[in-house]
């Protein structure tokens, strides 16, 4: 009876909301593909992964170099969301690479943050990065500091920092809202080279208008893999591409099917079309 009760509890969410079943299967499939590729790399079956060129990431070294030549600091802005936001985590993985470069070139790295937990994690990331290149003497904890949680208070404070410090390069990587254009335009007027990256669709046009290079959407998530020398990091991009291919094929089949049904309603009477229609209406509502 207990097994039956457990079975009932497992089936109940799917009965209430059948579309959850599709999400569940999709998640399991992606996880399987992810683990399969990592396992293949560990067993040595995959030695090399091709990733297409992402211009914004290729210019990071140039931006850091330009700051070094001008004797100006680098400003890194990790967005205004907390550590639980995926874009902030993606930003912190890119921060590690940029911190290593700035340590190598002995360029000052300033990082004002909007969330206290992000500040703590960023301090650790930069300290590790400086340690990795053997320049822990250059690390200063007070260069990563908390400003305010308030969106426009943060934007005003960062604008002040840009106007006073006149950085040579500004990195705007993470989740931004309306303050994105304020920051980007101020950085443009300060003459800094700006590299932005966000998955906030509404802010992309502002960054594209005001910044030199932009990581669009998922390129931000691919950034750490792109810059990493570890094949395991790079292989996760393959999982991303395969997942997208699965979704695209579903969308293609469903759109062809729906177009046929709209154009020829009598087709709905055929058993196979009826079944597909039932599946789409039940599991993909």
């Amino acid at each position: 009876m207990e097994v039956g009760y457990l079975f009932y509890k497992v089936i109940q969410p799917f009965k209430e909301n059948p579309s959850i079943f599709v999400s569940f299967i999709f998640l399991l499939s992606i996880s399987y593909i992810f683990l399969y590729y990592i396992n293949s790399v560990k067993k040595g079956k995959i030695k090399e992964v091709f990733i297409r060129r992402i211009p914004a990431l290729n210019y990071i070294d140039e931006a850091v170099g330009r700051s070094t030549e001008l004797g100006k600091p680098i400003l890194y802005i990790p967005g205004i969301m907390d550590i639980d936001n995926i874009q902030t985590i993606a930003s912190l993985s890119l921060l590690s690479y940029i911190a290593q470069k700035s340590a190598l070139y002995e360029t000052e790295l300033i990082m004002p943050v909007s969330r206290s937990v992000v500040m703590t994690v960023a301090q650790e990331v930069i300290k590790e990065a400086y340690l990795k290149v053997g320049r822990s003497d250059l690390y200063r904890a007070d260069r990563v500091f908390y400003l305010t949680d308030d969106q426009f208070g943060y934007a005003a404070a960062v604008d002040g920092i840009i106007s006073r410090e006149r950085p040579g390069a500004i990195f705007l990587i993470g989740a931004f809202y309306a303050e994105s254009l304020i920051l980007a335009e101020t950085g443009f007027s300060a003459g800094a080279i700006q590299i932005a990256g966000t998955a906030m669709i509404t802010q992309l046009p502002f960054f594209i208008a005001a910044c030199d290079y932009v990581l669009i959407g998922e390129e931000l998530f691919a950034a750490s893999a792109y810059l990493s020398t570890d094949i395991i990091d790079k292989i996760t991009l393959k999982t991303q591409d395969i997942s997208k291919a699965i979704v695209m094929s579903f969308v293609f089949v469903a759109s062809i099917f729906n177009s046929l049904i709209s154009a020829y309603p009598n087709l709905a009477n055929l058993p196979i079309f009826n079944t597909i229609n039932f599946i789409i209406k039940t599991f993909f509502k």
Partner: protein, 241 residues
């Protein structure tokens, strides 16, 4: 152990939350506790930020090598923080709306008349003065900078350098004019209702593009989450490799 324990905690809690999303009845109690812990940690994390703010600004204000105006601004930050906190704790956020009798001059007549009027004003020091009279105008003023920056960014960036840029330019113009009354007013001469064209661009063309980007971002989010769950991504514990 120092690296492995956080990764283990991340993996276990992540898997529990995912299971809870699909099967809420199976892991109800544990997830409620985890969510309560998340909220508590997020709330207490603000103390960390406030301490850092005070330390950094206090250090700046006491260091003789810093510019005088920077030292004054740092002091103002600390004072504002302390004053706002004290007033907020003492007066609370419940509005204290009272009627006030005011006198105003009505100069619509031949001779100016003095009229009396009752207005409703929030007399709570925190919500009435600090929030409504200081914070709100400052917030709105900083947001309003966007209007100027958008105008200058549009002037600089919207050039028809190629076919795609031309399409961008035209659609931006149609939507900008279609979403305000002046667009319909101006184009009524040609018998076109530009708001309908703008609506079509937003609901059909834009929605299709947004959907594609949303799906791609969603998948990217899933992959990063899996990397965190399985310990491939370690940046949140301060180590990227």
């Amino acid at each position: 152990m120092k690296r492995e324990l956080p990764l283990f905690i991340t993996a276990i809690t992540g898997i529990i939350i995912i299971i809870n999303f699909i099967f809420p009845e199976l892991t109800g109690g544990i997830t409620e506790t985890l969510r309560d812990w998340t909220i508590m940690i997020a709330s207490f994390a603000i103390i960390l930020g406030i301490l850092n703010l005070i330390i950094v600004n206090l250090r700046k204000s006491l260091e003789p090598i810093t510019h005088l105006e920077d030292r004054i601004f740092s002091l103002i930050v600390i004072l504002s923080l302390v004053i706002t906190t004290i007033i907020g704790l003492v007066y609370g956020i419940k509005a204290n709306i009272q009627s006030l009798l005011i006198f105003k001059i009505n100069d619509n007549y031949v001779f100016p008349l003095i009229e009396m009027e009752f207005i409703k004003k929030d007399m709570n020091l925190f919500t009435g003065i600090i929030f409504n009279s200081i914070y709100t105008p400052l917030n709105s003023a900083t947001f309003s900078l966007l209007a100027f920056f958008i105008a200058s960014a549009a002037y600089r960036a919207f050039r028809a350098k190629n076919f795609e840029a031309l399409i961008l330019l035209l659609s931006a113009t149609i939507i900008m004019l279609g979403r305000v009354p002046i667009g319909d007013y101006l184009f009524s001469i040609f018998g076109i209702k530009i708001s309908i064209i703008a609506d079509y661009i937003i609901s059909v063309l834009n929605a299709a593009a947004q959907r594609a980007i949303l799906i791609a971002i969603g998948i990217g989010t899933i992959i990063i989450s899996l990397k965190l769950l399985f310990g491939v991504e370690k940046s949140h514990i301060g180590k990227s490799e």
